[in-house]
Symmetry: C2
Subunit: 228 residues, 2 copies
DNA sequence: GCGCAACATTGATGCACAACAACTTTTTTC
DNA sequence: GAAAAAAGTTGTTGTGCATCAATGTTGCGC
């Protein structure tokens, strides 16, 4: 983890909603955002820690996950640039309900949480925009609840693969997560994640070349996901 | 399901936040809320249906649940008077992400969703209050995710019992839900819900008298819940 | 470029739980 | 208040998956 001087962060100004809104409201000067670079595997925020900043992911991929029991995690989401980190913990509680860790080198923009509050207390559109993103996250989690509880491993892995394809908006993509993490995303063991992947490969449903995955029969995958 | 004339609903005026806010804003006249009585088992809102009204539970208990696969439901929450029904679906999407059904006779207050939007577009405090309830719901679901995925049946049932005790704010309470529903709340089969209950009774952890349940050793129950 | 650690793979074993079945008890309905 | 439906109970069986184990492979630090 490494703090950047303000001059180093240009992309932030282009992607960060907080920045736009603060400027609109003429309180850009108060913003004084910090920009931070996290190395692969570093924790960006920790479950149960105080929420002191609004954090936006500017570059890189991160995983949002909860600590389960006996060292088993559940990955809720993969975060991409311009996503809020910790969005779901902005209102209700003052502590994070989950961890976020960098999957590769990540750059983030931190704004003091009190400034964020000021923004959404005083700027309606900003709050409404925040809420909309919020609502979507809730629907996601809901979907995950069903899936993790009632599908079996093939269905779960199929769903995860479709999720990733949709996330990266491509049927062929680099798998940024390990097999263990694919397991955590699907709430199954690492071993079974591997097993299902090779099954799918042998059945011609997906292609596997090193880190690259291609969904060759996405429709069949959807069926497998839908019927468990 | 039966519509009430406005004169019939007095409690609503005492409990309904929407009512207060509308009055505060001087648009009480626009409110024109509908008051509805649902019989036991009736659906108050249906998954995937359009969200046309903000609904507040005035009297009775309801269950919020998602349709799983092969007719297996997952109960997310039990709703009590003055809870918003469908709170989680107010922002993001235009359709409900879950069902709500009456556990006994329920009375609700319906306000047009556009009025609700008007309220929270124009009244900041109202929106913030809404958001706070929202945040809590999210934390609940999160907790459920862990629990349903990683605890085993004794832990799951223990958690459900503690949840109910906290909900009704009493260590002895009437079990308004059936064993099947206790199973759905804990994401286990009905049969195992029964089995665990009798186990707990035989071990002296709980008392069972008809519909009445009493937590005799809540601390032990907490341990069982915590360690799965 | 060597050595160690993280990641990946495959097979074998055990067990927790769902599903089934058969039955009793309670509640609802007309 | 009788018949039907819903809810509750207990024992048994089968299986999907986690876990363990052993080994191969890749990547990274120095």
């Amino acid at each position: 983890m490494r703090y950047l001087t303000k001059e180093n962060c240009q992309t932030c100004k282009l992607k960060c909603d907080i920045f736009f809104t603060a400027r609109e409201m003429g309180i850009e000067a108060e913003l004084a955002p910090e920009h931070v670079v996290y190395k692969k595997h570093e924790l960006i925020c920790r479950q149960n820690a105080e929420v002191t900043h609004a954090i936006i992911l500017i570059e890189g991929n991160a995983k949002m996950y909860i600590d389960g029991m006996n060292n088993k995690n559940i990955i809720l989401n993969i975060l991409l640039p311009s996503n809020y980190i910790g969005l779901l913990s902005i209102y209700g509680s003052t502590t994070y309900a989950y961890n976020v860790a960098a999957l590769n080198e990540c750059r983030t923009c931190h704004a003091d949480i009190n400034l964020l509050k000021k923004l959404y207390y005083e700027n309606h559109n900003f709050l409404l925009k925040l809420n909309s993103a919020f609502g979507n996250s809730v629907n996601n989690i809901m979907q995950k609840l069903i899936s993790l509880n009632q599908k079996q491993i093939r269905g779960k892995v199929a769903e995860s693969l479709l999720y990733l394809a949709q996330l990266y908006d491509a049927n062929t993509f680099e798998l940024t997560i390990t097999r263990k993490e694919l397991g955590e995303l699907s709430a199954i063991s690492e071993e079974n994640a591997v097993r299902v992947l090779t099954e799918f490969k042998n059945e011609g449903i997906i292609g596997l070349e090193g880190k690259e995955i291609s969904l060759k029969m996405p429709d069949l995958l959807k069926k497998i996901s839908a019927f468990g």
